[in-house]
């Protein structure tokens, strides 16, 4: 059998049935997906050591085949490439759990999920932010001045862009959102224009320079 050309769902089925060549192909095909996600997630905690990444990759594969591949048996792909997202999620969970364990040991059983806090902190834009009180006021003012006919989706896009600093490309990459990067940019530009009109040009500038492609 030509394992290389097997569709992901057929490969999963062959793995669940316990064929060694199927698992060889599974590892060859998906180890980069798992290792890549583990490495990027671990980097957020300042750990880029190959030893740790290898350990977590191994743990991910062991989790996949635990209980006679229960997670694979129960996985019901909704799209042809869903397995990629599924494995990335396995890798992310294992990495986050690893750092949760480490941080709990260091700091005792505190109330907060310090690993998750660290992950969130690492994702925040490096630029200087507004003081908390001023930020709350600005957020409220903007919210009240968004175009009244804005769809819930466009509102989300606007806040993901400004409040969380996501790029238009990153927003367009959210699965199921249904917009290209250009589409996202156009939503943001339209809404920013409206808000600027309502609040005055001196207060709010249009979103130049945060598009990933630099074409905004």
């Amino acid at each position: 059998m030509n394992w290389n050309s097997l569709a992901p769902e057929d490969l999963l089925r062959a793995c669940i049935e316990g064929g060694e060549p199927a698992w060889e192909e599974f590892l060859r095909r998906f180890q980069p997906v798992i290792a890549g996600t583990v490495a990027r997630c671990a980097r957020r905690f300042g750990d880029t050591g190959a030893g740790l990444i290898d350990d977590l990759v191994q743990e991910a594969f062991l989790k996949i085949c635990a209980n006679r591949c229960r997670v694979l048996r129960e996985f019901q792909p909704q799209a042809p490439d869903a397995i990629f997202g599924f494995l990335k999620t396995v890798a992310f969970n294992i990495t986050l759990d690893h750092f949760r364990g480490g941080m709990a040991e260091k700091r005792g059983s505190g109330q907060r999920d310090t690993a998750l806090d660290a992950y969130a902190e690492s994702a925040i834009a490096g630029s200087e932010g507004l003081p908390q009180a001023e930020r709350e006021i600005v957020l409220r003012e903007i919210d009240e001045n968004l175009p009244p006919d804005t769809s819930p989706r466009d509102r989300r896009i606007f806040w993901l862009y400004y409040r969380h600093g996501m790029t238009s490309r990153a927003i367009a990459e959210i699965p199921g959102l249904g917009l290209t990067q250009k589409g996202v940019e156009s939503v943001i530009q339209r809404m920013t224009g409206h808000v600027r009109e309502r609040l005055g040009p001196s207060k709010i500038e249009p979103p130049k320079g945060k598009s990933s492609s630099g074409t905004f």
């Binding site: 316990g18 957020r44 997670v71 998750l116 199921g176």
Partner: protein, 331 residues
């Protein structure tokens, strides 16, 4: 590009750089946010999670990190440096995974030497068996699953402390469930296959249902178990917790708090020193805004549990209630 001066003047551009508060009790788990980034959430759930994340500082930042981490291509140099990228490791791992994925076959013992070895292993490995049993005991697994994601405020017997992580609808697909929960469900399902009326298995199934935010079903399951063991204090306490959870999830079912108290009190009459029962009772009174009763129960709890994180949480709740009571008494 926006110049530094522009950026300093423009508050909109500076919203994203502000410091973040941690997740709140109603925030989804990171595993759920990951399911959005991975395209695994249903359209309805995805929209609801995106709505939350777009307005929540903590979840928005986590989602941003996830989208970045899931969409970037792996760095070829990093991959090359990994042992797990090599064919030798992958070959060995494939063998392990093949073994693990096949149903276990009974191994025939052919020689007397093998029989002796089997006896020695059986005797010498008794403690390993005990540890294995402990690790696969569904009650311990459920307690572990609860601690991993403490999905509600009420205490599950035997579970270690954890802060509340989420309050509703967070354990959708089997994938977002903690592994311990999946394993526990496997064991419980096996036990119920053998004896569908086993009170113990039904009790554990009800706990799993509560962890999965299904108090409605949990109530039915515990009631079924109580038919077999009507005076079991553990079952009474579980039924009380299930009622409390249903009351919390359905505003039209506030009456369930009364049932919760009734069942928790029944449990306490049979087993007076169960810290979990008293903890949950105090919480139910809190939910009912019955401040004096809640203060009395927290006091009672602190006598049963003298130290540790559960004690600290009880102490904190007691202090808050006392200050609430004092401020309400002021003119």
């Amino acid at each position: 590009m926006v110049s530094m001066m522009d950026s300093e003047r423009d508050p909109l551009e500076r919203l994203a750089g502000s410091p973040r508060t941690g997740p709140g009790p109603g925030c989804p788990s990171p595993e759920e946010l990951a399911s959005v980034a991975a395209g695994l959430a249903s359209a309805e759930r995805r929209d609801s999670l995106l709505e939350h994340a777009s307005r929540c500082d903590s979840c928005g930042a986590v989602l941003r990190g996830l989208i970045e981490d899931f969409s970037e291509q792996p760095d070829p140099q990093t991959l090359q440096s990994l042992r797990t990228s090599g064919p030798a490791w992958q070959h060995e791992m494939a063998r392990c995974m093949t073994k693990a994925s096949r149903p276990k076959q009974p191994v025939p013992i052919r020689s007397w030497l093998a029989r002796v070895a089997a006896v020695v292993i059986a005797l010498g490995g008794g403690w390993i068996a005990w540890i294995t049993w402990f690790a696969s005991n569904p009650e311990h697994l459920l307690a572990e699953a609860y601690t991993r994601q403490r999905p509600f405020e009420y205490r599950v017997p035997g579970a270690a402390y954890a802060p509340v992580r989420q309050e509703r609808g967070a354990l959708g697909s089997s994938f977002t469930k903690p592994r311990a929960l999946l394993e526990a469900e496997d064991e419980i399902a096996g036990a119920l296959e053998k004896d569908p009326d086993s009170a113990k298995a039904l009790e554990l199934r009800a706990r799993a249902e509560m962890i999965e935010h299904d108090p409605e079903r949990a109530i039915e399951t515990v009631k079924h178990a109580l038919e077999r063991k009507p005076d079991d204090p553990g079952l009474q306490a579980d039924l009380g917790m299930a009622y409390a959870l249903r009351a919390q999830s359905r505003p039209d079912r506030a009456v369930d708090y009364a049932y919760a108290i009734d069942n928790l009190e029944k449990s306490r009459r049979i087993k007076p020193n169960s810290p979990e029962t008293v903890f949950n009772l105090a919480l139910v009174y809190e939910q009912m805004n019955s401040v004096d009763d809640a203060i009395r129960e927290w006091d009672e709890y602190l006598k049963l549990d003298r130290s540790g994180p559960w004690h600290d949480e009880a102490q904190r709740r007691l202090t808050e209630l006392e200050s609430k009571k004092n401020s309400a008494g002021k003119p």
